[in-house]
Symmetry: D2
Subunit: 410 residues, 4 copies
């Protein structure tokens, strides 16, 4: 005897691909469906509505199907409350905890829909009922879970709203269905990216820059520094290596210490790299080195001078590290998370590791621009379920100068 549940979808569910994914998922996972109601939006500004019954042979087979449908935006129809269960221990979630998507999400509590705060994918939802300002719900990553936190379990009483295809296709942020905009002429795409950055800043939004060491090696350092100085960077998230290369350029000029990300040339100029770290340690940190006039230009210099908060995360391949670098991965992730939640637009530049770390914390509504010479990197980052991502496969050393010219000299 089959078991079944009714789910519903609402919005521009056809052209956003939601209906297709829902039908496909049910069939891929061995279930079946029966469409009860289907009201199609007859014009492009009208939304559609679908109510369907999804069945499987056993409850055990139905559960994963419902889970996947949920993540896609098909919400269980029954107007029940979300189930809550206390966490049995610190960092331990209840069995069947609800794992979030990066899409806007609501949970039902005491008959009311509550918006989940700080939305981020792969988290648990913790509910605090009956606060002064009503019930609160927010995400927590696994290691932040505390014993007795009320964690949402199951799939009922939760609504997910994936991004919809914009009705108007202007601007660089099209509705990317798993792909990189290789079809755009490069120059015109840079212009559109410049416009998006300027508009974000002018409307009071915050821009998070995520640069890799290649920004320095490829000669784009001064142009990124100009953008920081002109107020187009509100936060910076990078690694120890990026900062050291930037500072080293100031201390030792441009002739040494050049290389591709992750893999410094085994010999050339590495002594300067280490001595740079040593000097900053002696000064007490980057800010102190600037105060002591040891450093007087570059990206880190402009960040300090313009009060742009930066996170430097450590990694197992670092030299040093600098005193400013957060070596604990969990602590660094939390610092990155904070910046990611503030950002309205993220500019990822030639770094896979840091871009992934930032991308993991972003809600799907944040605009993302990802630039890298490696097509695979761009595809992966621009295609993480974000409705507003644009990728560009190009050399960071020609991209940043062109972008800075476009923004600052226009």
């Amino acid at each position: 005897m089959a078991t079944s549940r009714t789910v519903e979808l609402e919005g521009h569910i056809i052209d956003s691909g939601m209906m297709q994914r829902v039908f496909g998922l049910v069939m891929d996972m061995g279930g079946s469906f029966h469409v009860e109601t289907f009201e199609v939006g007859t014009r492009k500004d009208e939304t559609s509505y679908c109510q369907m019954t999804v069945s499987a042979d056993t409850e055990a087979e139905l559960q994963p199907i419902l889970h996947e449908l949920h993540q896609t935006g098909a919400n269980i129809a029954d107007p029940v409350d979300a189930q809550l269960e206390p966490a049995p221990r610190n960092q331990v979630v209840p069995r069947q905890f609800y794992s979030t998507t990066n899409h806007p999400t609501q949970i039902r509590h005491d008959g009311e829909w509550v918006e989940v705060e700080q939305i981020e994918m792969d988290c648990a939802i913790v509910v605090e009922p009956d606060q002064a300002d009503g019930t609160r719900a927010y995400t927590k990553v696994l290691n932040a879970i505390e014993e007795d936190d009320l964690v949402v379990t199951g799939e009922a009483g939760i609504r997910v709203q994936p991004p919809e295809r914009p009705r108007d296709a202007s601007g660089p942020f099209g509705f990317m269905q798993g792909g990189v905009s290789a079809e755009r002429p490069s120059e015109s795409l840079i212009e559109d990216i410049a416009t998006a950055i300027v508009e974000t800043t002018e409307s009071g939004g915050d821009i998070l820059a995520v640069p890799g060491p290649a920004v320095i090696h490829s000669g784009a350092r001064d142009d990124l520094a100009r953008l920081v100085d002109a107020g187009y960077v509100d936060y910076l998230s990078a690694g120890n290596g990026f900062a050291v290369h930037d500072l080293e350029r100031d201390l030792y000029g441009t002739s040494l210490g050049m290389d591709v990300e992750d893999l410094d040339h085994p010999r050339k100029g590495h002594k300067h790299h280490i001595y740079t770290i040593s000097q900053i340690i002696r000064a007490g940190g980057i800010e102190e080195a600037i105060e002591a006039d040891i450093i007087d230009e570059g990206v880190m210099y402009q960040c300090v001078r313009n009060d742009v908060p930066y996170v430097l995360a450590g990694s197992i391949r670092d030299d040093g590290p600098l005193p400013d670098t957060i070596t604990d991965a969990v602590e660094a992730q939390n610092a990155i998370r904070k910046q990611a939640h503030e950002a309205d637009l993220v500019l990822m530049m030639a770094t896979l590791l840091h871009s992934v770390a930032v991308g993991n914390c972003l809600p799907s509504k944040t605009k993302v621009i990802c630039v890298d010479i490696n097509q695979a990197t761009v595809t992966q980052l621009a295609d993480r379920g974000s409705g507003q991502a644009v990728g560009m496969v190009t050399d960071i050393g020609t991209f940043v100068p062109r972008l800075a010219d476009e923004i600052l000299d226009a």
Copy 2:
């Protein structure tokens, strides 16, 4: 008035490319040279000897030339002692400290040549004179430097011995001059790698495995586990992600949680990933989970059962992490360093980050096998100044089963 210094080279300096690099470096860096003596080995088993004077316009120009020559194996001729200077503070090296290569190195102290222990590139050399067992010299990374450590500075009194071209070209470890062995038929290269692994183990050597998550996703988990169980893995160095995917496969079977390294699919199966971590946290760790019969197969299981020490290093893109994961980058790097120094052969499998971290700590005499689907990764790793590296561009999911068959079923 030019300044000059005499350097000497000895060994198979022509066919190892040392002479070429020395001549090239001097010219690239604006110096000039005068060969005083050149005794060429007239047969392939005879070494050559070259003494030459290197000049530059100023001492400031000469210093970097001498530094680079050193790293290449051209040692300053004058039989003087290495200069020692106390470190001014913790984590601060003296100006002009000597930065190591990954080649065997000796320093001269009180007229005697002392072998530098724990050789590793980009380190300082600390000397402890007049110990019970004579003078000791060993490498220290920057963050291990303590105030008043006696650090070697300058270039005099130091000898470096880069690996020489083997006189006999048999075996997989040819003398790679910056390249990957794409010219070898795949099957025969796997056979040679198997032979090198078996020979290392049979002669009592230690093998360090460095696997990425793709080993699990591509279906090679059982074959790697078989190799651990059969005693062909002595140490394992990986990331939190590798271990979680391995454990998850045991807890949830093979149908979910699949993906490429670094970038888990944003939705599918991620809940299992997090719940796996949660369960291991509840048990107290991997070993405890095995004792509690929660885990009874896979790579981590075989490591615990066969007392194979493992290092799981954290990263800013991790979920969790597991209780076993070392989240502090400096601490993790030290744990990796310890394994790297013990290893006689390192097998890097489809992970850039961890391979680089391990590779940074290896002396050039350690055998390295690097397998990855990405040619750029293989080239970079196999080409870090190592005299005994072999790279193979292939799918880890077909490589590991073929390797295990070759080793275990032969």
Copy 3:
């Protein structure tokens, strides 16, 4: 005053993504739509039907929208005949000619729907009315068009049927929505590919092998030869370089002439390559060289011995070429086209150029397996609108032996 046209879609139009593409296309191209009828298949085996009116401001804007909708499977509803116009000259098509997709297509003539023969993308459709066996319609590439050929123009009276998502997801040929099956464990995917090949052969289908030179260099030559000899290859399409490397291996053994596709090592062993061609020219061709016992093993040898027709296409980077090589690009394309139209399953192995040439001629219903070490190559080939394509990113030198073992030793 807007202009509009009614189109209709039928089949599994939701889960095949057709509805989504149709809505998206209209909006991207500045049009609007009004859904007149939407009958949704309420269960997974029921098809859906949609009739909608598509509008644009001018006929000039509407035409390209209708063209794109067509290619996607949205057919103009009005039951009119397809328009026919004579070609004005040889190799010149009428303005507004209909350019084919690779999907099954019908045109309406004299009130009857006629299946278009030899379907292939980017061709014109030529109609021969009133033949003995009724009206015929078939594709012609541009250079085959003859003056006065009746060519279909416009969009009316044409029906396109894109492949639908299979209702049953078993087997390697899933419904690929723009991607490569990186999520499949390698070994299990090879088993599925072996099964598909065996089933095709056993059911009387024809297999077309498209190998690049890397098949030889990587050591997989003997295994491909075994597959030819055992009857699992019915046609072979390759380049001059593939054949020469195969023959050279027979003449000069395995020690020389190794390299990656397209870019032979500038020096090593090239003399053998040229002398191999010279010897075959002297013999009069490959078949003659085999008769003269100059060649007695390898892929080309087994093709001749087993009467497997082969096409060797020339290219501007060839040496020689062999007497068997077709140097004229148009003639070679026609020979490839003939093989492609016969094939039921195509196995593309490590060659971009020849795989694209073959792929251009394939109808979307032909099964395609594409194996290459380069992810970009695999993605591009497996994603050319084919409903039955499977891609695998792996080393051809381990893939072919595993495949041959799976097929022949099972």
Copy 4:
């Protein structure tokens, strides 16, 4: 009883790596050597000289060693004449024919050294003794060999001069030892490339442009057209696809016909592509279409207007082709060869196939600049034994505009 031969090397044989390769080759191939004389250049402007005896167990083993040494610049010492043998038939070379490198080469005839004309790799050398202007020697590709041509065989009486490391390292053309200049800041490298182009043109040299379709798709068409118009392109070598995309942009504007090289999007805009070809066919060719005012801008337009000769080579993946396209591979290769031999500087832009075809015909002294988004392509092309090659991994859509600005607006 071993057999041996004396070879000699002269020039900057240490820092050009010649000595290293010679020693390595002998050992790799199982031979041994004895250095008879070694006179080292004691300063950077002095050349070195080495005479050595190379031995192997049998003549059969010695021959391939001598062959490889030759290609590296180690010439057989005995002052004998080169051996000549008549070609037995058209397109058939004598056994043991000498296969050329791309380096300057001389052969000895009647006791005199004769420079080999039209040097190109992988060719035979044909000698015409006793001409009016003395003995002539020149290269012939295999398919140009005629019966009774006097072809050089063996290794004696031939001198090869590989490029030497420039004594002065300024300019973009360093001495690349198998690598791409990833260490150069992008902007400064573009400036240096611009300078090399301007200098070549100003000194009366000829520039050959080799563009792929991506030049058009990425929006760089107008900038390349500007360079042609300003006289910085003397020859153009491309494929049918490049020309069609260029012409199509003129006929249909910029909104369609977009894509990456080799793999046109299966559907979008392809009709325009084919109709463009159809229109040019109707006009009779590109020049005729320009005369008829059908085409009035773009790269092909500027080539015709400025009398820049172009070669359009056909390929098996072409549509059409255009009437101007040479469809026969051998004929096309000969046309390319003629251009390649005239060129002083070659600018390869985002096309592997055509760059390889051109590169195959180039002597090693020709300057080569190779720009591509794909690192593997750049490495392969910049590393074909050329002494004057520079590679740049970047987006052609930002490179060409920057280059044109640098050259034209400076």
